[in-house]
Amino acid sequence: MDWHQLWVITSTPDNVPIVALLFLVPFYVWYAFRQAFANDRLIEQLEASPEMAKTHHRKTQPYQSGWAKELPVWPFLLRMEFLAALIVTIVLFVWSITLNAPLEEPANASITMNPAKAPWYFLGLQEMLVYFDPWMAGVILPTLIVVGLMAIPYMDMNPLGNGYYTYKQRKFAIWTFCFGFIGLWVLMVVIGTFIRGPGWMWFWPGATWDHSRLIFEINRDLDQIVAGIFSSLGMLSVAEFFGNIWVRTVFGAIVTGLYFAVAGFAIHKLIVATEFNRKVYARMSMLQYLTLQVMLTFMLLLPVKIVLRLLFRIKYIWVTPWFNI
């Protein structure tokens, strides 16, 4: 265990925001879900007794009859805003006095930084480069992330959960978003910061960043593995068949198509899992449904490729003369 290495990584000034993120994200997840579960318990009570549903003010916040539903912005909101500005200013001053912004040597194109890392908030994209070619990781997937985020309100046809924390009423949406935001985006930023060392190699926390480390791992394409299986079975002519690029292209297209069919089917099963979900599904137009399917199947492609790459050493599942996936 190389504690010094661990300290060097976590105390690098530019990594401090990610250390902060490690505490802030879990805290706010806990904070949000505590309120969501409180609301869910209230919803359960209200559903159980229609009498209560008629009279209750339907919030977990305290309420007494006679209280105004609204408060004057001055002073009740403005003092909160002033307090927030004050606290942020103090935090920023203390942070800026105690920790200096990094400044390396002057830019020099002939001396490569190793590891050369993007700013921390883009490390998710840089980490995706391990699993996809640059045109996918750097262009297509970021575009899909942005477009997919923008499309969320137009795909989510669930009328419940507008303006209050809840988990029970929006399970599918919340699982999907938390998986994408925490399970993929934040996790990959954390991996890119703390795990990836020189040569973008995987160093577990506490391992020394050895600049002369070499990894002899052979990443193979899926069709070559299939060809290998055929040849080990003695079917050499079939294996040779896979040497042809057009056979590989067609094979990859079939595998990729198969992935989208299976992933789409699984996602569909989730979309129509419950009675309530089926009602929401019935509200969706064909366009809404297909957009949702495209976004989610592409999102799932990332963890699938992470598993294939890290556990099975598979590089591409689809090789063509023009592009590889």
Binding site: V16, L21, V25, Y28, Y31, A32, N39, E47, A53, K59, E70, P72, V73, W74, F76, L77, M80, E81, A84, A85, V88, V91, L92, F93, W95, S96, N100, A101, L103, E104, P106, A107, I111, T112, A116, A118, P119, Y121, F122, L125, Q126, P134, W135, G138, V139, L149, M150, I152, P153, D156, P159, G161, N162, G163, Y164, Y165, F177, F181, A282, F323
Partner: protein
């Protein structure tokens, strides 16, 4: 009274000089006293009234007018949902993000006084800022950490808005504007990364813009790029960097994007974002919980 001679009056009324002076300044003294008494109530002064236009007392009407007739506060409604004032619902993340944008604009303008976007002096300017400019180091630190903090608060703001379902009808479009602001925030930070012209920024931007050359159809290493005539000297990466490598043109372009173009674009979207918060009915909650069995499925689209 012009013919009245001070010497003559002195002869007529043989009182002391001091008494006479006291007599003479009495009117001024009274004026001063009433002025000072007026300062105890600054709201009554003509200056105050000319600036704030409304009376400032404890009536609900004055409180509302105080917010609504103030150019800086008029983004607020006069009254808000009483539970929205609690920290738990919004976490204040949107407001903190905006406040950080103001802090960054302020520190950024001050930094611009000391920085030349030129390959020859950019790095030296940072050294000068760190070692010679009074509070220069604090200024740079605040700008950098404020930028990082802003990215975190933007993410958390988005997370909160999602978990409260605040993007749902009628706020769909404001979520779209918010996503664009998220992207602009990260681009603002990214373009600023190159400006110190050190190894960290240089290689981060090299890694970042290298992805652009892999753009399908638009980059010279992307799928179908070469087939469409893309070379290192005419593709989208060239347009971003103003050259085929990260050099002086890239520095100037990053500077202009960072200090002028993106702040203007982001400010425009921010105006729309805040305007829409109000127009879409104010902050989304905390609203009363809905129940599944109360939904009228056949009438949902009528709203």
């Amino acid at each position: 009274m012009a013919d009245e001679n001070p010497n003559q009056s002195e002869n007529k009324n043989p009182v002391g000089l001091m008494d006479r002076v006291k007599e003479e300044i009495k009117p001024f003294q009274q004026k001063l006293e009433s002025d000072l008494a007026g300062l105890m109530q600054p709201q009554k002064t003509a200056l105050y009234k000319s600036i704030f236009r409304v009376k400032h007392d404890e009536t609900p009407r004055s409180r509302s007018l105080g917010v609504l007739s103030n150019v800086f506060l008029h983004l607020h409604p006069a009254r808000v949902n009483r539970d929205a004032v609690r920290y738990g619902y919004t976490w204040g993340m949107g407001g903190i993000t905006f406040y950080l944008f103001i802090v960054l604009t302020f520190t950024g303008v001050l930094l611009m006084f000391y920085y030349h976007p030129s390959k020859i002096v950019a790095f030296q300017d940072i050294l000068y800022l760190e070692h010679d400019v009074p509070f220069g180091k604090l200024l740079r630190n605040m700008h950098r950490w404020g930028a990082h903090l802003m990215i975190i608060t933007v993410w958390l703001h988005m997370f909160r808005v999602f978990l409260t379902g605040s993007y749902k009808k009628p706020r769909e479009f404001n979520w779209v504007v918010g996503v664009l602001l998220l992207v602009l925030t990260m681009l603002l930070s990214f373009t600023g990364y190159l400006l110190p012209d050190d190894q960290l920024g240089f290689w981060a931007v090299t890694v970042g813009t290298n992805m652009a050359r892999a753009s399908p159809g638009l980059g010279h290493e992307g799928p179908f790029g070469p087939q469409l005539g893309m070379t290192p000297y005419n593709d989208v990466r060239f347009a971003l960097l103003g050259g085929s490598i990260v050099d002086s043109n890239a520095l100037l372009r990053a500077y202009i994007w960072h200090c002028i173009a993106i702040p203007i674009i982001a400010s425009t979207f921010m105006i729309v974002h805040f305007w829409r918060v109000r127009k879409d009915g104010g902050i989304s909650g905390p609203s009363p919980v809905g129940l599944a069995k109360e939904i009228k499925w056949d009438r949902l689209d009528e709203r």
